[in-house]
Symmetry: D2
Amino acid sequence: MIKIGILGATGYTALELIKILLRHPEAEIVAVTSRQADQPHVGDTHHQLAGRLDLRLENCEPEELADRVDCVFSCLPHAASASFIKPLADLGKRVIDFSADYRLRDCETYVAWYGGTHPDPSRVGRVPYGLPEWFREEIKKANLIANPGCYPTSAILALAPLLKAGVVAAEDLIIDSKSGVSGAGRTPKLGTLFPECNESFSAYGVGQHRHSPEIQQLLGLASGTHPTLIFTPHLVPMDRGILTTAYARLVGKPSTSELLDLLRETYRAEPFVQVVSHLPATKDTSHTNFCHVTARVVGDRAITISVIDNLIKGASGAAVQNFNLLYGFPETMALL
Amino acid sequence: MIKIGILGATGYTALELIKILLRHPEAEIVAVTSRQADQPHVGDTHHQLAGRLDLRLENCEPEELADRVDCVFSCLPHAASASFIKPLADLGKRVIDFSADYRLRDCETYVAWYGGTHPDPSRVGRVPYGLPEWFREEIKKANLIANPGCYPTSAILALAPLLKAGVVAAEDLIIDSKSGVSGAGRTPKLGTLFPECNESFSAYGVGQHRHSPEIQQLLGLASGTHPTLIFTPHLVPMDRGILTTAYARLVGKPSTSELLDLLRETYRAEPFVQVVSHLPATKDTSHTNFCHVTARVVGDRAITISVIDNLIKGASGAAVQNFNLLYGFPETMALL
Amino acid sequence: MIKIGILGATGYTALELIKILLRHPEAEIVAVTSRQADQPHVGDTHHQLAGRLDLRLENCEPEELADRVDCVFSCLPHAASASFIKPLADLGKRVIDFSADYRLRDCETYVAWYGGTHPDPSRVGRVPYGLPEWFREEIKKANLIANPGCYPTSAILALAPLLKAGVVAAEDLIIDSKSGVSGAGRTPKLGTLFPECNESFSAYGVGQHRHSPEIQQLLGLASGTHPTLIFTPHLVPMDRGILTTAYARLVGKPSTSELLDLLRETYRAEPFVQVVSHLPATKDTSHTNFCHVTARVVGDRAITISVIDNLIKGASGAAVQNFNLLYGFPETMALL
Amino acid sequence: MIKIGILGATGYTALELIKILLRHPEAEIVAVTSRQADQPHVGDTHHQLAGRLDLRLENCEPEELADRVDCVFSCLPHAASASFIKPLADLGKRVIDFSADYRLRDCETYVAWYGGTHPDPSRVGRVPYGLPEWFREEIKKANLIANPGCYPTSAILALAPLLKAGVVAAEDLIIDSKSGVSGAGRTPKLGTLFPECNESFSAYGVGQHRHSPEIQQLLGLASGTHPTLIFTPHLVPMDRGILTTAYARLVGKPSTSELLDLLRETYRAEPFVQVVSHLPATKDTSHTNFCHVTARVVGDRAITISVIDNLIKGASGAAVQNFNLLYGFPETMALL
């Protein structure tokens, strides 16, 4: 039984993670932390957990935690996450980091998009990106995993096969993504107040979203190309789900069927990627670790449409998938 | 043209009020206030008003405002509202108060439910309750109006006719109300964050909501009875609308038809109350100043169901209806 | 491995049932039926199942099915369900029936509320009502289970302990329930079209809902009383969840704490009922088989508030809980 | 007072049209039609109209209607609309057609996208497209107006100024649109059932939506270019609103400010187009006839974002704006 600690356990990704791990036969949650010191019971913070997990939130130091856990999932925000993780990793603990801290491949890009300085620069560029469909072998051998961003997951799973096969150009990619509101986190803000975003749809962070460089770097790494892209996220009045519509210029004259076949071939053995011929909806993957993806040829563009649950395949489900790989458990354990 | 000032203009009721008044041929909004001093343009605070109202939010004193306005609508919270209104009322300005400050008929009840002390005790009990269907003549003669609460409006319009006619008992009234989230205001709070209340339904303030004594006192006043009641509000994952299901013990054996006839007779001449024979939905009155109401006999109870838009008939529309009465304009002006 | 057949597999309860059974280590779905003859793949009917269940919907006869399955879950509508079930039960197959056909204790009440004649009258009144918290021992010994209605589950779990203990009166119970739209089924109808019920809240079936006699009979059976009640269902603009607010006249002067203690004592050993001191929201139990329940004393009434997921604890989760009891599997298998 | 007939009055656009016209001081609705013959009261079909419009739906012939009305708004579907309109137009009645029948400039394109044959081919290409911001002078002189599609309105208002000024290329336009569910009409269908599309987001009609040729032809006409484009519509779980994100390749190196200035200059005198510097949300224009639009330079693309209410500026509000132009009333009458 692996002893698990969860850092930053008051938010939505931590809640989903806990619910998945409660079903995991090889994991036992032994500690949940929060940087607030008031020691509430986790069931008071997350009413969904009433009677299901008898732990109090702790505000503890990494060293203190290290004695009690085998593996840590960090749901802390960027910078805070690497600061807490570094000593744990130095002590040889296994860590799955939900933050962006180890995703980008170089500190310069990190600092340009996230500001400050990187708390653990020596590990940057050497931590596998936890998208098993593209980086499984590296994940299996690692102790620290950079769990992917939700938008990048949806974009990379759809576009990497086409780019890698050379049937679309790496330039002028247009990635138009739409996400449910849980992606904005659990801190009260005017913009995510119910009467503000309910019955409304909006774009945000146009040209400035931090997932742009992540998509660019990791999509490039997965496909062996150097993509240039525009990424535009939008807010959908729903709890969860991401749909990404991507437009890529065709190279040659592939048909819709050929694109679908290419996707099917790529993901034939993948337990969590379903290539579908219909147009998928986010609800098709809600509350699951699946990604559904399809493609169409329209004019001189390939259009890919991919859907995931932003909190599961886009965060906590992927994290458990990585956890299973780290420990050699069946990859789908607790995830079906 | 009546010069209008709006106090506390950053919230949802103020926004709806502004939109209604922009359509009013006899009203001109000349000032909007906020207790925040940063002077934002009202169109930056309320994007819906972009290009429609060229005013900046001011943090000003009552006396300062008095010189520039004929009539004030106060959307300030309780206590703050009466504090600001008192000097204006002393100067003879006409005021319509959205807060609870002048609704209850005695200071003791006010203090018991709202705490503190009342900022303007001498006016308490002498200010008409702005529900024209039951207090029209007093409203016409007043300078200061206590604009009704949203829940009380929905409950009183449904129950007062039955109580007044003596076909239901005044004891053991059960009032089960359901409201959209805009009723909770525009201040960011965890409980009204989109992912918390979307796809969820909950009760709140059970046995403790401040509209309980208001319903009790004003329903009694309207119907000439002394009701005892339980009021339970619930939060519905929608922007706006209130539906109140009320259960009243029958006196005698009236039929559903007789109850409907009684309601129709009561509201025959009312421009904004529609007695319907079907079961109304909140959407039937959304974005309007109408109340739809029906009744059924079930067992030994009368069940009334009434719907309003909490921001319009439950707040800003009622306020303009009162404004029209105060100034002798057609009661429906700007409200159809 | 128990071989499972699912009747009427195109709707929402069947979909949830399939998703739960796919996680069940002792169950294998071998047949899914639909009275439409076009043989679509179940993954085309339910996109959520893409790649997860490789079966086609069959329009087959009971006898045909009997050879291939050990246990049947029927999601057919009333009357159609008992007609199909009767021959299967005669052959000794185990059956869990989601319809109302075997819930009521006598044919007269059934006919009065459902019309027609009962297709299998000799079994009526002898089939256990599948609410394990109140009828576990009978369930364990049965071959055929009447899976409870969603509203009755929420009402009975909250009220039965208070009635049984005699702290509330059996007369004049008022049960005000609110349900998400999935409860209305998957057949396209104007009333459940998105733009009709989104951003709207309404009552329906006032005084006429078929769950009234079910609550009355089974609540009485569970608590050993003869309740009289009014049941009013409402439609909430959300997918799933039921919240029931029930008002019961107090006998004696119990406090809120005493009511909560009584509930806690009643459900101390229950794996799926959580007695909470806060006011629960439907989201607290969404996508789970839990019921959260609380109580308050207000005036001379006890108010209970209970929440469940209408598709899980109100239908498919309860069905699997009953399945586990029937076969002697751990009661929580596949349900946590 | 202009006597108005409304054809096909059972749907959502007709309802919005009626609500606007009830506020119009120069219009009187004298007839509402439906191809169903059962003569329901319009208030029974649209509960929002209870007590506000005392008319029954009629199933009548054009000639019959012609005697009683001055002006007709047709909310009939394509083909049915032109069939009904033709005799009315032949008799010299003024007509505003919500269908696509007269929007496209040639019958070949019409037949290719809508099938069948055109019922009134001689008028095709000679009817003004009712987007006043680009075709005001022709509208003023016409008797028959082709009221624009909702998606085309959002796309053309955003892109036409940039194309006309030559700051973006006419090739490889990517128009990614998102609409509320009311755009799919009021006929019950599985795809727009609440539990299907609530909490879900999907694309539809990829590469095949009938608004593609309309955007292409009319955007070209408005801007004096020959655009090639990909148009992808998506369904948002909300009642109303369209947001269109369009990506156009820059010509030269304009800045974001220059794009905004160009938009502001274009729409300086327009009463219903607001150029905003923030990123607009659909809610900013809900229940209004406004369009809010902004632009950004990202990489080598201009991104425009425009929002409208699909039922108002995208249908019924635009129709009344056209009506006002036809009759020489102030263009904003009943629309502010």
